[in-house]
Amino acid sequence: MKYNLLQNNLVLIVLSFLLISTFFIGFNNCLNLQELKQSERLGLIELTNQRISSLFFDINNIPGGIGKDILFLKDLSCLDGILTNKPECLDPSKENLISFLSKNLIYNQICILDTKGNSVLVLDSPDKQKTECSSLLEQDSLEKLSLLNQDEIYLSKLIKNDKGNLVLVYGSPIYSNGLKVGYLVAQVSSDYFLEDIRNFNKDEENVFLIDNFGNYLVHKNKSYEFSPDFNFCTEYDVCDNISKDYEQKYIEIGDKIIFFEHLYPSSFSFEIYNGLKKTNEDEDYYWTLVFVGDKDYFDTRIENLNERYFFSTVPLILIALGIFFLVFRKIKQNFALSIIFGIFFLITYFFLITSFFGGAQNAKLYDDIPDLAIALVTFLIMVSSYRFKDKLKQRDIFIGGLFLFLCRMIQVIFQEYQLFHGVLVSSVYWIFLGILELTGMIFLLVGYGRNIK
């Protein structure tokens, strides 16, 4: 009688502790969740910013390299001879430039112009369509080119050549004995970085490159590019904010969230690489790299936190309570068993509590707790077989429990150490586990059914 009273009181005390602590951590969780959602949102924004930065560094790698190439080509011996009427210089210079073009496929064309802008030598890349060199340089660009010093380089806006390809034009003056004798002009295909931007498009977000007027330079639908009918500013009505706001890198408008980064094609390319000066002073011309994402996409990912937080604890609560009741059911009958259950209960409850504070999100064991709990129960089923005098029943239940126990333990061990990789190995693994589990269940069921009254 005393024992029962003690047991009942103990049950009440522990149950009260469980309920109060669960309510407490639940309440605390509600407070933390808002904070966590905010930090998750900032995390997602930061992640997108990092993606923009990585794309920016990807596309910014080559322009500086081109600048160096231009300086290298100008230093080729005898190049100035083409412009100073030295016939012996023509063939070697031509050969050098052709060899350069064949090795550097992003160059469409290299031209040598005289000081008036007339073509003296035009070399096209072997696999590219021929275009007219001088047509790419407008009158004001030629003027800018004429103002450059020896080691300065001109970079044009992104333009369409007469074949409809998007190109950048690089130019630099050629000097001979301190006198300007002409210009080296290179036409570079822009596909190398435009394609990088197009490839960044995903289902839930669009990536564009626009100019300062909102014209699409890169769009996943190519018909939008350079089209007067389509303009980012009229479509999204955020250009005023984007052009003014240099500090904040994103804007939320309607159901969209828009990330942006301004690029100054000349200054960025040229400032990064030493030895080359920024020469395009036209600060009004810039590109904007724009990511347009659905706000829903961000919100859904954040809302998932609620679900994960709530449901991740449901099996643990069930297991904790289940084990708790088993402990007090068994105290009278089997002290050793109740100790095993009790220890497991404490471990489970520890993880239950830490999960509310975010600690278990990083703990590997957290996902294994339900499997371990099931493994423990199947182990007890296996041990329970000793109670039956019928040898066949004993055997069947023992084997059934053993197989099911092994199945769970293998899952825990393999998940913990991630010992299997690849489709074939993991398929074999799953089939093996499936057979083991089904065989265990059949043995258990057959043993269970023997000698029922």
Binding site: V314, I374, R387
Partner: protein
């Protein structure tokens, strides 16, 4: 759908059907539905799991329900096994 998920789905579906089939045979033979309820529950849980995998609905919620039901079913089996009055020893 990748091969791994397809195999997982098929094996779970086959397992659940075999289990439900044997359990229903046992219920018919011994006429004790309550005793075999945990096995039926496991069979249906595997069924839900295979359906979730097939329709790519596998997420934390489904996983929680799956693990919780399996655990409770095994607890049910264990309790039944240790309840002497139901068994001829």
């Amino acid at each position: 759908m990748n091969l791994e998920i397809l195999i997982g789905t098929i094996y779970l579906l086959v397992m659940s059907l075999v289990l439900i089939w044997i359990t229903s045979a046992m219920i018919t033979k011994y006429k004790k539905i309550k005793l075999f309820l945990p096995f039926v529950l496991i069979g249906f849980t595997w069924c839900i799991q295979s359906g979730a995998m097939l329709f790519s609905l596998f997420n934390f919620t489904i996983w929680s329900i799956y693990e919780g039901l399996i655990f409770l079913s095994f607890i049910g089996i264990l309790i039944n096994l240790r309840r002497d009055k139901l068994w001829k020893i």
